[in-house]
Assembly symmetry: C2
Homo-oligomer: 336 residues x 2
Amino acid sequence: MKVTIYDVAKEANVSIATVSKVINNNGRISEKTRRKVKEIMLELDYRPNMIASALMGKQTKTIGLLIPDFSNPFFSELAKSIEDRGHELDYNLVICNTDYDPEKESNYLSLLKQKQVDGFILASGFENLDEVEQQIVDDIPIVIVARDFPMFSVNAVALDDFMGGYLAAEYLIELGHENIGVVARDLYSNRERLRGFNYVLEEKGLKLNTNFQYIKEADHIKAGRKMMEIYSDSEHRPTAIFACNDLLAAGVIQYAKEIGLRVPEDLSIIGFDNTSIASIIEPGLTTIAQPIQGMGKEVMDLIISIIKGEREDKSRITMLPSLVKRNSTKKLMKEN
Amino acid sequence: MKVTIYDVAKEANVSIATVSKVINNNGRISEKTRRKVKEIMLELDYRPNMIASALMGKQTKTIGLLIPDFSNPFFSELAKSIEDRGHELDYNLVICNTDYDPEKESNYLSLLKQKQVDGFILASGFENLDEVEQQIVDDIPIVIVARDFPMFSVNAVALDDFMGGYLAAEYLIELGHENIGVVARDLYSNRERLRGFNYVLEEKGLKLNTNFQYIKEADHIKAGRKMMEIYSDSEHRPTAIFACNDLLAAGVIQYAKEIGLRVPEDLSIIGFDNTSIASIIEPGLTTIAQPIQGMGKEVMDLIISIIKGEREDKSRITMLPSLVKRNSTKKLMKEN
DNA sequence: TTGAAAGCGGTACCAC
DNA sequence: GTGGTACCGCTTTCAA
């Protein structure tokens, strides 16, 4: 049978109250009994049952992480960095894959609430924030990561997506491109990137390639391919593409090569995220880097400080993207 | 305040015992009271506190998953498939990234035991199985996945690694290659793959390229590059490489291209796992496919049946690999 | 400084 | 059928 606080108490000739105090390091205990009890705990290899203490209102040291899609390296790398920080701080993660499905999202939310997680980190879709607001009303600590919602009062660690799009456009234009296509999903973050992108274009008196449309496909590689197909079939094929994540960019590159376009000579491509695939594919992908490590750490630190009640006010931490140049982009050669 | 079983009982004018029976669908209850109670539960939006019932010995419906490295697509895809099946069966996953670190492994194991997870799925290193054996003694359900330990009596869902290596060798030899290099880590699974590989070589009277050595580097891409560097610097450069996972293969391809080798014309490469990166990189990677989806489902089903006490005996489910041909391999052109 | 006892929110046995 | 009640293992107040 598992050893409980009673076993320790009996063995040490003290009450369970006393044992509890030495476990939690509080209350007045003589140095002598404290040592004695500690000794017995070691001897019996006693591990407090966290379930029992959670029932008394203590924390479960467990946080729910909702992720839309594990198989996207951006999210798995983000999850890894969050988990890393959690491990340092002694928190575990219940990870849920939501497939961008609102129903799954709210199922998980209520299920994990039943399991008394200390808080939630949402990296998920949640285009509809009603559900989230409800949770906030219920006073569960929540932090949103990698997704910004300027219109809501939620704690968040987000990327400056506008700036990301801005950087991408700026660079492509600097390279001389004027006919540029975008590949994006109809998500808030992507819309922001697009907005930043268009901002620069307008500044320069340029316009987005008219074939632009939001992709629907769930499989990003395929979606990238498909969108590139649309662009390449059009009369005025873009000389450069800005893809709103690395996976989309990979799809674009694949298709471009298949139809005989050289990257970057015939087509420059810039991605977003700077996940591991950016350096795996060929040519190396120029991309807008998200500080994934940093975001993971920040979001974990933020939620824990909220759980511990260390902050009253809501915070929004905005991280800045940066341009990582590799070989998928090149100065446009004027054909004349 | 959260609504408890007492609130429901009071509101429905019954005892908590009755409510409990309704919740768990057991005991004799009149249809009338059952309906009444259910109605009240809905009305009050009552959610049983799983912590409390866990304390009474019921399951937590939570399983610990130990993974060595999230950022390896094989593991993130495996985790995803396990999570998927868990979701269907109403189990959550606490996912832990162990970085192949034995200390982290045992930390997590004991921590999650304190949290009363119903069982463990280990996809982790655990070259040293002492720890695992200890847990088995403690009677915690454990299943090992993607790692076989023929010498231990543990439940497992594993791949036939020997056969994987066998298939790889067979194919390369069929293509006419005779000087073949291997890239592998010193892990049980990799050793098995190598053994299967060598088995075929010997059959054909061939021998592994003498520059073979186990890689040490944690970063698989880099490790692949480094190993390819060793092979290419040697006098008798192999005409084909068998890399024990797709990431290693990607590294090999990168380096090969950088030094001007054409893949597959000058060098054929075959990977292992058939993760998403096999179709992302260029050329598409010929690889030995692991049935990741299937393994995820099997391992989840297996652990749950153990948890439910539906099986007495230990089982070892062996899944079979298959060869997926893409463009990184080619018939050897005899130079004469 | 220590310990008795009242919970926390359920489950399950046993009377009625 | 239904309800009283003793737990599960721990925390916390309060008295001694």
